[in-house]
Amino acid sequence: MADIFAYVPHKVGVVEDIAYEYPDAAAKIDTGAAVTAIVTGTGADLDKACETLTGYYKEVIKVDQAELSYPNAEIIRKVLVNIVPAGAIVLAPHDTFGMDLAPGLSVKMDAGYAADIVDIEGTDGSDLKLVRQELGGAVSTHVTCDSSSGAVLTIRPGAFTPAEDASAGGSVTDKSGDAGDLSSKRTFVEVVEAEVGDVDITKSDVLVSIGRGIEDEENIEVAQELADAMGAVVSCSRPIVDAKWLEKSRQVGTSGQTVKPKVYLAMGISGSFQHMGGVKGNPFIVAVNKNAKAPIFQVADVGIVEDILDFMPELTEAIEDL
């Protein structure tokens, strides 16, 4: 099997969690494969990331250039085309960075491409046997990806088992000189931090979180009444913010807030991985959804198949009567 290269993003030298999950994904392709981490950036931050990675990877490639101080996918793609040998398998995270980087990388490498991989079932000749999901997680699919001229895979964060043993004792190879042309027609300007809202959902032990099942802006009041009765706060999934019914600061998910409540009531939320990626700390999850097949029931502790618009007022009343 081809050699495997794992691109590791980091923030000021702290590597993203996906760094610990790549080794499991790589071993599921081929237990004997050589896995090399690639990390880009500049200065002390980059060295700090390298130091972490040598605990988990035998080989670490670093590319240190001032132009790489912010991870502009347009530039990093060019670097990877220069650094990664033809025919290799490249792993990247399926997140806002990886989605920016990886599809174009597969074109430039003339390699196969498969996105958002949640499991790997080995190989069949040069075909990688992969598992992914479609339709917002409603169904899974087996996919084959021909890696005979290389492959680029984006790996879903949290889907593979993180490595715990930091005893790889790896070494760092400096390939800064091989980076090549670092010009780009897309220039990074700044990161605009999320606005702080009227309510801090990250501070509440109990969240009544609403999704598409709320159906109408007027119905948010029904959720607010339940939250008031419980001493909880109303949060939501992405479609509610897209519809401008609640502020962005109320959104739970990878593109919103990360919350760690004790109890999470998912009301009319289908339970996409982007949403559940914002629910941490192993809370007690109650899911109410009129669709018995909603993916949320796979991750919830307790499930109830009901229309939230009927169920929430009754629950509110029962709690008020306690």
Partner: protein, 262 residues
């Protein structure tokens, strides 16, 4: 500004409960409700708003079968000026790169300043925009949630990144952007709007019209292939509370009390 928006007809996740067919290897497609991919509506709305402000035309394009024409008409009812259907039996079984290759051929037959796609569609890969940009050697930005036109040669784009933050970039035209939901509020399309564009002719182009090689863009050229659909057997899943609503609420309240929810 001449803007092309790539759209797709997909099973509507809000309107369907997905089940497998009797063989257990494909979706039961008999009663599925299809609509335009949600992300694409935001892309078309954004294109219309830019053209309203700066002048130009919006063209919508899709790769699909005859039934895909209805999504083009829907987007034209929103305000897109032109529609093009790329359709050929030889396109069946195309993977992301195949689709991008077909779209590339159409794009090269015109002259566009801005090419938009939805950030993702039913398959959840989010791949076609980035592939298209790489094939065309154009700059790319994904998950775009803000566009401001600076001048004829560059625009400012915001990208949605983790934690609700926004990454601002300047990007040269022409470029390819994938559009994230929430960037705008797509306008409502009524029956009257659809009727108005019902008789507008939508050109259909096949592999030979586009000059693409079916061996490259079709099933034979696909490196990535779906083998089957399945519903995974997951761990324990949720404990489902059953009975009358009253009984369910009683059980739920006990659990909430025990877990600190009340």
């Amino acid at each position: 500004m001449e803007i092309l928006v790539c759209v797709k007809r997909v099973p509507d996740t809000a309107e369907n409960e997905f089940e497998l067919n009797s063989d257990g290897n494909d979706l039961d497609r008999d009663d599925l409700v299809y609509s335009v991919n949600e992300w694409d509506n935001y892309a078309v709305e954004e294109a219309i708003q830019i053209v309203d402000d700066k002048g130009g035309n919006v063209t919508v394009v899709t790769v699909g079968d005859d039934e895909s024409e209805e999504v083009l008409r829907r987007e034209m009812a929103m305000g897109a000026n032109n529609g093009v259907l790329l359709s050929d039996d030889a396109f069946e079984g195309a993977d992301g790169k195949g689709i991008a290759g077909i779209l590339k051929a159409e794009i090269e037959s015109g002259k566009y300043d801005l090419i938009l796609t939805g950030a993702q569609a039913d398959e959840g890969a989010g791949q076609v925009g980035g592939m298209l940009a790489a094939m065309l050697d154009l700059p790319y930005a994904s998950l775009v949630n803000k566009i401001e036109v600076i001048d004829d040669s560059k625009i400012s784009v915001g990208r949605e990144i983790e934690g609700g933050n926004q990454e601002m970039n300047e990007i040269e035209l022409p470029c390819v952007l994938s559009i994230q939901t929430g960037i705008n509020e797509p306008r409502y399309v009524g029956i009257r709007g659809i009727r108005k564009v019902a008789s507008v002719e939508i050109p259909v182009k096949g592999a030979s019209d586009l000059g693409v090689d079916p061996a490259v863009v079709g099933a034979d050229g696909a490196k990535t292939k779906r083998v089957d659909y399945f519903v995974p057997e997951l761990g324990d899943g949720a404990e489902m509370l059953e009975g009358s609503t009253e009984e369910i609420i009683e059980k739920l309240i006990e659990k909430l009390k025990a877990k600190g929810g009340l």
